[in-house]
């Protein structure tokens, strides 16, 4: 007996409609319209059977839509006139609209960020309908604060209408049993394997449901979205005309609909596979494609046998409006302070992954093992709900860009003609200068990813946010060592306790301010040569340092962050070419004379207020000093009864701030001197460095963290701790005297890298320095006025000779003249001469002019007879010229 096959797309659609209705009724039990997002996350995380029903509801409706559309186009195969009655045709066209609305309201009821944005778009579009747009929008969507009306329309209004239309259209209530069973089977398999989507509310990518992604793409191109509304009416009219129009009209309508469907398909593919954050085009070969586009397709499957106890779900905290499955396994994790309490922010906020999956591999898919690296900061620390503005600023700060370092390096390699171009470490290519940095320096930047667990040490580099904010307690270190156990119970803390050790790993190099500050001077000794003495220290396992004068602030227990505030360390959002430009706090901000620059605690900017309250709790009534350069508040200061106090941020030590000595401020003689030009006790000074490229040696690319063949090699010359030389920095207001040191007194065998017959480059550039070796008492007068090194002549003997009634300065250098420029190896300038052109690592830093040298040495001549504390020298601070004019006959001024 032949069995007539009754199955058609229509009957399958009817079967699916029944599945939608049945699963929808059951889904109403766990679904909570008051807190829809929370209730769906609960379903996903804690109730696999509810999850199955939700998935069935979702997949049966998606399949229904597909089958319905195919069914619609199936009718269009018939060339003859369909010829429905007007009323039926209108209701069928409306049915198309209502089905789309039913689908869309189902999408909205997830109440995640995708849904909320879709709701707003829908509202705006409906409002564009003339006359009753506003009324219709409100009647459909209701108040933005709840989902009640959307829910009612989804479960009642639209469902009843669809059932009515379906019955009127098909004259059937029951689908064939085979269709129902087959549909159920397909839906069950899909529902078991693929969870219905729910946005994690952290990803910045917002997309509508798959069937409206094409519409989203169209809206992206439409300046006037009213056209989209008009297009909707045209489509409904075309469907109507297909069913009622004469043959030609019907054919035209069909063809138009097919053409539109084709175009819509292209838009849908574009939207689904090539659009990322902010609807930006992203292609598969781009770095972020996986995270920005493919992440939209990430879904988990139902797990009926989870590793955790189902009873634990009831104790699961609500995290930012949702339940996360992470804490079901990683519960009782200790170690994080209140700001990053996992009971409040969960695990997903920082580590990513899938917060709703209940299978380990799926939960951990795409996980960020070490959050805080700048490469992933926008998905962890920098998400919109946490620290977005800081994640935006830090990559622009000098500790991320290395702009000055790169520019100066290219300048000395003669690859660019100035020292100040703004650039970024990621712009390093393969030139001789750039490879020099890649081989020797390019890992000391915040963007260098930390890839291994463990505390910040002398050898760690970079790490973005955690370069400064990561702190392992002893328990966390022990937990890490024993990490073979199933779950880590102690988490390292992420907090404001930034110590000197966090800065040390990078800042013990180059200018060496960290080691200088602690009083350690690097030697050229090898590890084997290091004496067994407390005065020597091994850094990073091979660098030998010797103990000399520490900074007075270090002796008092003041740490780096006590002076350097958040806008200096994390940047203020602007790009700077050199550290002295970005750096804000100056000595005079704390050691001031006269009226202090203050701000009230209640007027603090938001970031400073948050940091201050976290550090010091009660800030009410405090008067805080502000920096003079950028007017930033110094949150660890307080002005009470005309006395300014300073408190260390980590230790809580309190000091009263001292004004500068009278000699610094009460006379004009030294008004152009920076504090550090006098109060620096020593700087690291290195000359005679030679750089060449060894093609055969195995090297390392510090930027890309990979082994490379060939490397630049730096051969160090002499290395001493000594008083700095002095130079002039021109400023907008004139000039100031600053400490300088031989920054780039070196040779570069560029030809060894380029093979282009480049000659060996020789430079004698001095660099402005921030030595961080401050002394309470400034250097004595002779150490500048009678010191050839201070004047830039280098080591040697500088004597004032009086002969035949005339005084004359004479200098005998210690080092022989370099044949390349005729100057002694350690000199910046020749005796009583000066230089211009390429003289320093900044375009605004120069050696003393001849006239300035003469002025300094004139005072030096006086100091050959008069002690610096003599009355005449003290008086000279007030009016040197007058004193010179009244000098005694036996006083000889130098003749030039």
């Amino acid at each position: 007996m032949k069995v007539k096959l009754k199955t058609s797309f229509g009957t399958v659609a009817l079967a699916l409609l029944w599945l939608i209705i049945i699963t929808g009724v059951i889904l109403a039990v766990p679904f909570d319209v008051v807190a829809p997002y929370l209730s769906i996350s609960k379903i996903l995380v804690g109730n696999p059977w509810s999850s199955l029903i939700r998935n069935m509801h979702y997949w049966s409706s998606q399949l229904f839509l597909i089958v319905f559309l195919v069914h619609l186009f199936d009718h269009f195969h018939y060339r003859q006139k369909i010829g429905l009655k007007v009323g039926v045709a209108i209701r069928l066209s409306l049915g198309f609209l209502i089905i789309m609305l039913a689908m869309l309201t189902g999408f909205l009821l997830k109440a995640d960020t995708d849904s909320q944005q879709a709701r707003l778009i829908l509202e705006s579009l409906i409002k564009l309908i003339p006359w009753f747009g506003d009324t219709l929008a409100f009647s459909l969507l209701g108040s933005v604060e709840n989902f009640q009306l959307i829910y009612v329309h989804h479960v009642a209004t639209f469902t009843v209408f669809i059932v009515f239309i379906t019955f009127e259209h098909s004259r059937k209530i029951w689908p064939p049993a085979v269709d129902l069973l087959l549909s159920l089977l397909v839906v069950l398999v899909m529902s078991y394997l693929l969870n219905a989507p729910l946005h994690d509310n952290l990803s910045p990518v917002n997309k509508g449901p798959w069937y409206f992604v094409g519409f989203q793409e169209i809206l992206h191109w439409l300046k006037h979205p009213g056209w989209a509304v008009a297009m909707g009416f045209i489509i409904l009219s075309l469907i109507y005309l297909v069913n009622t129009g004469k043959e030609k009209t019907s054919l035209f309508s069909k063809r138009s609909l097919l053409l539109l469907a084709g175009l819509y398909f292209v838009c849908t593919i574009t939207g689904l596979f090539f659009r990322g954050e902010n609807w930006r085009l992203v292609f598969p070969w781009e770095k972020d494609y996986k995270q920005l586009v493919l992440a939209n397709f990430k879904t988990s499957r139902i797990n009926f046998n989870p590793e955790f106890e189902m009873e634990m779900i009831s104790g699961l905290p609500e995290i930012m409006g949702r339940k996360e499955s992470c804490l079901l396994c990683h519960h009782q994790v200790k170690g994080l302070s209140e700001s990053h309490n996992p009971e409040v922010i969960g695990c997903f906020s920082c580590h990513g992954g899938n917060p709703f999956a209940t299978v380990k591999n799926e939960s951990h898919r795409g996980i960020i093992k070490i959050p805080g690296n700048l490469s992933t900061a926008r998905q962890s620390c920098g998400t919109a709900q946490c620290h977005p503005e800081i994640a935006e600023r830090v990559p622009k700060s000098l500790m991320s860009t290395l702009s000055g370092l790169i520019s100066v390096n290219r300048f000395v390699f003669n690859e660019q003609n100035n020292q100040d171009s703004l650039t970024h470490v990621h712009s390093l290519r393969n030139s001789a200068a750039d490879m020099h940095l890649r081989n020797l320096c390019a890992n000391c930047h915040l963007g260098n990813d930390k890839i291994e667990y463990g505390p910040v040490t002398e050898i760690t580099r970079g790490g973005g946010c955690i370069a400064c904010h990561l702190n392992y307690s002893p328990q966390a270190e022990t937990a890490l060592k024993n990490s073979r156990s199933k779950y880590m119970k102690v988490h390292p803390d992420i907090n404001l306790k930034v110590t000197n050790n966090h800065c040390f790993n990078c800042h013990s190099r180059s200018g060496r301010i960290s080691t200088n500050y602690e009083g350690w001077h690097e030697t050229l000794l090898t590890t084997a040569e290091m004496p067994d003495s407390a005065n020597y220290r091994l850094v990073q396992g091979y660098r030998v340092f010797t103990k000399i004068q520490e900074d007075v602030h270090h002796r008092l227990g003041i740490e780096c962050i006590d002076c350097h505030h958040s806008y200096e360390l994390m940047g203020d959002g602007k790009l700077y070419s050199h550290k002295e430009n970005q750096q804000d706090v100056q000595c005079g901000d704390c050691h001031f004379s006269g009226e202090p620059h203050i701000t009230l605690a209640k007027d603090l900017d938001n970031e400073s207020a948050i940091i201050a309250s976290l550090r010091f709790k009660n800030m009410s009534g405090k008067k805080l000093l502000t920096s003079q350069k950028f007017g930033r508040p110094l949150i660890n200061t307080d002005v009470k009864n005309d006395t300014a106090f300073f408190v260390t941020k980590n230790g809580g030590k309190i000091f009263s701030l001292k004004p500068p000595a009278a000699v610094c401020t009460k006379t004009k003689a030294h008004s152009s001197l920076s504090c550090s030009s006098c109060h620096t006790s020593w700087v690291s000074s290195c000359i005679g460095c030679h750089n060449s490229f060894d093609k055969n040696a195995s090297g390392y690319d510090l930027l890309e963290n990979k082994n490379v063949k060939g490397t630049w090699v730096e051969t160090k010359g002499t290395f001493k701790a000594k008083l700095p030389a002095l130079g002039i920095r021109t400023t907008e207001n004139g000039h100031e005297v600053i400490p300088v040191a031989p920054g780039m007194a070196l040779t570069i065998d560029k030809n060894s890298y380029t093979n282009e017959n480049d000659t060996v480059i020789f430079h004698r550039l001095f660099a402005p320095v921030a030595p961080h070796t401050t002394l309470l008492k400034g250097r004595n007068c002779k150490s500048c006025h009678n010191n050839p090194e201070a004047l830039g002549y280098g080591e040697g003997v500088l004597v004032f000779i009086i002969k035949d009634g005339k005084g004359k300065w004479k200098f005998t250098p210690h080092f022989e003249s370099d044949p390349r420029d005729g100057l002694p190896a350690d000199a910046w300038i020749d005796f009583l001469k000066t230089r211009s052109g390429k003289v320093s690592t900044r375009k605004n830093v120069f050696p003393f002019t001849i006239e300035q040298q003469q002025k300094i040495l004139t005072v030096g001549a006086c100091l050959t007879c008069h002690t610096e504390d003599s009355e005449v020298m003290l008086n000279s601070l007030y009016n040197f010229e007058a004193l010179v004019n009244k000098r005694k006959p036996q006083c000889y001024l130098p003749v030039w």
């Binding site: 108040s143 917002n206 609807w279």
Partner: protein
């Protein structure tokens, strides 16, 4: 506009010539149905417009985050330009998506990619209208921003 619709329907019908000549059963039923529909449309419009008014009358309050260049709070974007405050609605003028991102000195709409500068002027489409400025006041202690509905 919509509340004039019932009256408009009735007038339209009454102006029909057949009605003027003779009121048939069919015409009577049409009038009756139109009247019922118009009655419900009228009720629907009144009810909805009252609800919309009530919804729009809600006052919004949130903490002023001083010095923070851009703050997203409630339904608003607060721009603090060195003490000079401007408050915008956070709805993109293209299709009303909520803007929640400030990147590279631009406010960016996540839905269709429109971009605005800090004065609310669109820099990149599809939006072409500026963000809607909102009148805001400070509370007496200067710590709270109040936006009347």
């Amino acid at each position: 506009m919509i509340h004039q619709l019932p009256a408009f329907c009735i007038l339209l019908f009454l102006s029909q010539k057949p009605f003027m000549r003779k009121l048939s059963r069919k015409s009577f039923l049409f009038v009756l149905n139109a009247g019922i529909v118009a009655f419900f449309v009228f009720l629907w419009e009144r009810l909805t417009s009252d609800e919309i008014k009530r919804m729009n009358n809600k006052t919004s309050q949130f903490t002023y985050q001083k010095g923070k260049k851009v703050t997203f709070a409630d339904k608003y974007i607060v721009i603090d330009n060195e003490g000079k405050l401007t408050v915008f609605s956070d709805r993109c003028t293209h299709l009303g998506c909520r803007i929640r991102e400030f990147s590279n000195d631009k406010l960016v709409c996540p839905c269709h990619g429109s971009e605005y500068d800090l004065s609310g002027t669109p820099l990149k489409g599809p939006a072409y209208k500026s963000l809607e400025k909102v009148n805001a006041e400070f509370s007496a202690d200067g710590k709270t921003i109040i936006i009347a509905g």
